[in-house]
Symmetry: C2
């Protein structure tokens, strides 16, 4: 199993102005652990959340449920120190590489993506769920 | 640098019915290379795209620009074989672990996230852009 090398494919530079908040005021931000490669969570940033994130060096999101800025860790202490931020080709998604102070998920799980989706069709979902692993 | 272990934190099972298409008909799907840990792209799935993905064992998205189902690789040959799919805690984001047949990005880059965002404020962005690496 090769080591995770987050800088392997970085070949360009983007500016904050390149983030296309005109397309949508909320941009999805994938949060990934820079050391393990684990994807921790998907959250959203508006322009102010991104500005605060850059200022603080820790993740700040827009909470869609609470309709306010949300400094990740403000209640749990599980802040996420930002190592680098990457913008996708069409400027409407962010990848944020972090060193987390603790679990990312409000359930206490390290990552929000702790559930595997089974490929069992609904009609047989009560009997033999088959994980998609290897499928 | 530790090896990327995508199954490390998987502790539960989710069903297709757990994906909350009621919240939004389009669910963001993070596509990650299962071998390298590299995040390749963020795309969107509607219910049919997810069903086709599970059927085919390759990624199928909803193209927002073309407003149609899009079997990734259908023109480039750069299909993405699905190894496993993971659902987040609140059922509104997917993590798809894949083995890609080629670059994920339409630009030819391996990942769509090939640009680092600089933290230089707009007023000085013409002079000394500083990558956020290590910041």
């Amino acid at each position: 199993m090769p080591a995770f090398d987050p800088t392997r494919w970085v070949t360009g530079i983007a500016r904050v102005e390149d983030v296309d908040f005109n397309k949508s005021p909320l941009i999805p931000a994938i949060v990934q652990d820079v050391d393990t490669g684990q994807v921790l969570t998907l959250a959203y940033m508006n322009q102010e959340a991104l500005a605060r994130t850059l200022q603080l060096g820790q993740t700040v999101f827009w909470s869609r449920s609470r309709q306010r800025l949300w400094h990740k860790g403000e209640t749990s202490g599980h802040y996420q120190d930002v190592v680098s931020i990457h913008l996708d080709c069409d400027g409407d998604a962010l990848l944020v590489l972090v060193r987390p102070h603790g679990p990312a998920c409000h359930t206490g799980a390290m990552t929000c993506f702790y559930r595997s989706l089974t490929s069992a069709p609904p009609e047989s979902s009560q009997s033999h769920p088959e994980p998609l692993e290897g499928g």
